[in-house]
Amino acid sequence: MTVQQYNCPTCGAPLPVENRFSLQVICSYCGQSSRITPQGLDPSGEKALLADFPSILSIGATGMLRGTPFKVLGMLRFKYDGGFWDEWFLALDTGKKLWLQEDEGEFTAFEKEQLTSPVPPFEEMQVGSLVPVNGKQFFIMEKRRAVLAGGRGELTFVVTPHSAVGCVDGNAGGILMSIEYLPDEINLSWGAEVPLEELQVDAP
């Protein structure tokens, strides 16, 4: 994996970018989010420094997910009334990218999927009900409004810290599903729980 070395335009900390499709990088030291441009880093994004909550994952950490080597490239943290959850952006050795959600100590690996049909608006989603999504019956287990608290590392899209997000999580026939309502788009992800024995993180 080729590493493009940048420095944070705000604090000067090293900001390595390993994924050539990354569009944004967030400084782990000062929280400054910067767009990656051909001319270098553009520190036009907002600054959001995240608290260090204990986790087995960290930016740059490597390990094995279900037997496949991975490296953590980025992370996003979402906050809601009852707490927060983190989403870790992983690059697998196979070239695949996925998001590993860490919520209350439980990990769920999500892969994005294109929505093939419209889904009801966030307000109409009722917890405990069934909704057809991409040809499957989606049982809604949780619905919450959250705020993107910030992030770290590199991302393949541009996010704006403090922006509002609507999240609907559920289960479709034993497969976990998550729909994120962002201001400009709706993202669908399918996932599965990752037991800790299937997630090994190398010692730093």
Binding site: I56, G83, E106, N171, G173, G174, L196
Partner: protein
Amino acid sequence: MSGKFKPESFLALGKECTYRDVRYQIIGRICKEAQISEWDAEDQRYYDEPWSSDLWVLVGAQKEYLYITEDREGYAISTAFTPSAPSIPPEDARTMTLETATPPRRILERGTAKTVYFEGEFTWTPAIGDIDKYCEYDAGGVRYSVEWKVSPDGAGIEEVEFFATRPIGKLELAELFGEQSILDEARRASQHKAQYRQWSVLFWVAGMISTLFAVTALFREGTLVDRFEIEMAKIADTGLIRGPFQLDQVGRVHELVLSTSIPDNSEAWGAAELLNGEQAAINALEGEFWRESGYDSDGHWSESDTTHSRLFRLDHPGTYYVRLMADGASAPAATLRFELYKDVPLARWYILTTLLCFGLAVAMVKYQSTNPLYIVAGLFAVGYFVLSMLADDD
């Protein structure tokens, strides 16, 4: 902490356990009061009752979560799971399933629980008054449940979760937590239980043997030494001597039996004296014999007293006689029958021994006691049984 919500068991915040090779620590506790509806398989109906429980929240070294429920029925360990057929059953549903491979099962319990107290740390924000509803069924010894948190306004659902719950015994749980004092106490209780069970079994066996002897004794008459029957009128006023009988079993029970064949509505008197070798009376049996019958508003009736007997024990071996006497003036046709038995078994002592042994066995199991008093009483009963066997003492 309010005394009302004090933990009732050895579980406490900060305690650590190892479950399925993962080290966990208790970080929080939520006390819930619920109104539940529980299925009674025997009565084939649901019963409503109030319920209270403690939910202990444990977190593992790598932030794995485990939940221990503690209520008056014991302990259960729960973990979250992802069902293949998630649903919330309607209020009136009697069956449910959360797995496509499992046919609908009887809903064993459903309820509404309210958070009344919490302490410790949580990765969510519990609040007094939080309302959770749940519904559960059993499949293969595991309770599968769907739990949903009702929104504060009661109008909607905030979150749905699914749990697989397995009951766990106190000892097994204590072992997971390494609670040596509880394990030692259980070991002592187990030894104590083994002790009283041993004694109890001993008394059951003794009681059964004694029962066998009692039944045998009830239907065995002893060994016939002499039997003689004569018309009462033929017995002289000075009596009729029978014998000699050689009786050598000192301490054993013998029996004299006098019976009559007496006409209806008549009476007679008969007696038997046991005489020693010098023909001096050393024991006697006498009795009025009678038979009456008639008719009343209930029809024919008949009453009689035609047999008298006496048990005795010999002080000395030797030659003995029996003098028979009778007065059958009012019943000239009456006959007097005399029987003499030796080695007569006595059921009464075996019955007493049986009752004592069974009583002690039951008491030991019921009170789970090895009270020395019970053991002494039991040994006394068994000893008496042995002595009864040997002596048949009257």
